[in-house]
């Protein structure tokens, strides 16, 4: 996984991308809340809103193939969850509830997918700061984002090394054990790296207090 993965469509230019980050965020959350507030009986309105979100995706140049791929993973899970509802007392009420849940969750999911694709990570952090999220959390998110890819790469290397030395499937329990040990190994290496990073931070005057550069009108920082 490369660092471009998370922001694959984030660098595209479109009407939606050009909206200010906090507007994008409020639009998305607003749509989700609206979807939740519509009564169960008015499910055609949900369908309409879903179409609106699809239009949003088109405006943002998000490929339909990507949307359908994500939906194909999401919908079965939701179906599994809600399938027990019609099998309880009263098929009518149960079906209605199931449909309601499916529509609401699909609408919310598609809306979040829109947000995910129009708001790159650095804009997300700016938005969070604007909504009074404490500096230390933003620093943590920043740090986490920085090292996810480093760890992914290390994990990949370890997996390749393991595959090069395993000769066949092995019992499932054994596979689980080896994979869990990979995670354990990655944890150890990561914590050791965290100590080194801490030293590097101290070498540049770190004392635990998070300090941020103010944004100026003509930069994004």
């Amino acid at each position: 996984m490369t660092s471009g993965y998370l922001d694959r469509y984030g660098r595209v230019q479109s009407l939606c991308h050009r909206l200010p980050a906090h507007i994008q965020f409020l639009l998305a959350v607003g749509m989700v809340v609206t979807g939740l507030s519509i009564p169960v009986e008015l499910w055609p309105v949900q369908v309409f809103l879903i179409c609106v979100v699809f239009a949003g995706h088109t405006l943002a140049h998000v490929p339909m193939s990507y949307l359908f791929r994500r939906l194909s993973l999401f919908l079965p899970m939701m179906l599994l969850l809600s399938i027990s509802l019609p099998f309880s007392q009263g098929f009518e009420r149960g079906w209605e509830m199931m449909v309601a849940i499916l529509f609401r969750s699909t609408l919310a999911f598609l809306t979040m997918l829109w947000l995910v694709n129009v708001m790159p990570f650095d804009q997300l952090l700016i938005t969070l700061r604007r909504f009074w999220v404490p500096e230390v959390l933003i620093a943590l998110l920043s740090f986490m984002y920085r090292y996810i890819f480093v760890l992914w790469d290390e994990l990949d290397k370890m997996r390749v090394a393991r595959r090069a030395r395993s000769f066949g499937q092995g019992r499932t329990i054994h596979q689980w054990k080896v994979s869990a040990q990979l995670i354990g190994m990655l944890l150890i290496r990561s914590m050791e790296r965290a100590e080194r990073v801490h030293s590097a931070m101290c070498a540049r005057g770190w004392d635990g207090h998070v300090r941020k550069l103010d944004s100026t009108p003509n930069t994004d920082a």
Partner: protein, 324 residues
């Protein structure tokens, strides 16, 4: 395990969100006193680690879905309850806002179920177990396995509660969805217990110093708050198995919670869970399944512990596999 938008009502989302916010806020404050200026690098790195670790596939005997780490207990076992809670919260936030995995309005509920219960509650169970069984390899692995399974079951119970409160005005029975949830989470819990157990076992064999040990002396306050956290988890886990019966016996949940709270400090959590298995209640079809799965789950946990500890007897073989 991630709850999607639309499943819970806005009111429940707000309530769960408020609760999570206060706990996470408190955790942010507490973790600075335990980690000092290492807070940002260690917690940030742990978040990245859990996030990366969740991508590792654990195949399920040819099934199209695979198991994955959740990581609450793992994070807490290294960084302690507060930083563990914050680390998992960060993972959930990133998953929601960068992957649309888990709803934005249900983020509060997800944080409550996985970060608060998973890490803080999990640490309580781990800590109490180590106090009872010793801080060595045995106590730590048993503690990690218990904590993993119990916190997943507790998350299931919390979800049932949240779901019930969301659809309060509906006049239909919740047994089936609850039973379904408990079943699924029992399996997830076994998986989590296995993964966490193996991972902690590995860390113990290589860098036991990395595992968090509390600096607080064994004073009354420290023990009490840990017992409290553990007690909440156990009560919820027990409630999970009674959830299918909840509509029949509305007081059942409260009765169990009380009993669990009082008994917790004296007895081993596991015995408590199995005790309630014997509660004589008239059972309908689905509920029999749920209770049977409780038994299987409990047995599974014991087997896992045996598996993990059995392997420590052969250090040569273990080391040979470990060298990557």
């Amino acid at each position: 395990m991630h709850i999607a938008d639309g499943v819970l009502s806005p009111e429940v989302c707000i309530a769960a969100g408020a609760l999570s916010l206060s706990v996470v806020g408190y955790s942010l404050h507490k973790m600075k006193s335990s980690l000092g200026d290492r807070t940002v690098p260690l917690t940030g790195m742990m978040s990245a680690l859990i996030f990366a670790g969740q991508m590792v596939n654990f195949p399920l005997l040819g099934a199209p879905i695979s198991g994955h780490l959740i990581g609450g207990v793992l994070a807490a076992s290294v960084l302690g309850p507060w930083a563990g809670c914050v680390a998992i919260t960060l993972v959930l936030v990133v998953q929601c806002v960068l992957f649309a995995d888990g709803g934005i309005l249900t983020l509060g509920a997800n944080v409550l179920n996985m970060a608060v219960i998973g890490s803080i509650g999990g640490y309580g169970i781990l800590s109490i177990t180590r106090r009872l069984l010793g801080r060595g390899r045995f106590g730590t692995i048993v503690g990690a396995v218990f904590a993993s399974w119990l916190t997943v079951m507790a998350a299931a119970a919390l979800f049932c509660l949240e779901f019930r409160m969301s659809w309060l005005n509906s006049d239909f029975q919740f047994q089936n969805i609850f039973t379904w949830m408990v079943t699924v989470h029992s399996a997830i819990g076994i998986g989590e217990a296995l993964i966490t157990g193996f991972a902690v076992s590995f860390i113990l064999s290589q860098r036991p110093d990395l595992l968090h040990s509390s600096e607080k002396p064994a004073g009354a306050v420290g023990t009490f708050s840990r017992a409290l956290a553990a007690g909440v988890v156990v009560a919820l886990a027990v409630a999970a198995f009674l959830a299918p019966f909840a509509s029949d016996f509305p007081d059942g949940l409260e009765a169990v919670a009380e009993r669990a709270g009082f008994n917790e400090l004296a007895a081993e959590p596991k015995i408590l869970v199995l005790d309630d298995y014997k509660v004589p209640i008239a059972m309908h079809g689905w509920q029999k399944v749920s209770v049977s799965l409780a038994g299987i789950g409990g047995t599974g946990v014991v087997l896992i512990i045996g598996l993990l500890l059995g392997r420590t007897i052969k250090p040569q073989a273990a080391n040979a596999e470990v060298r990557e």
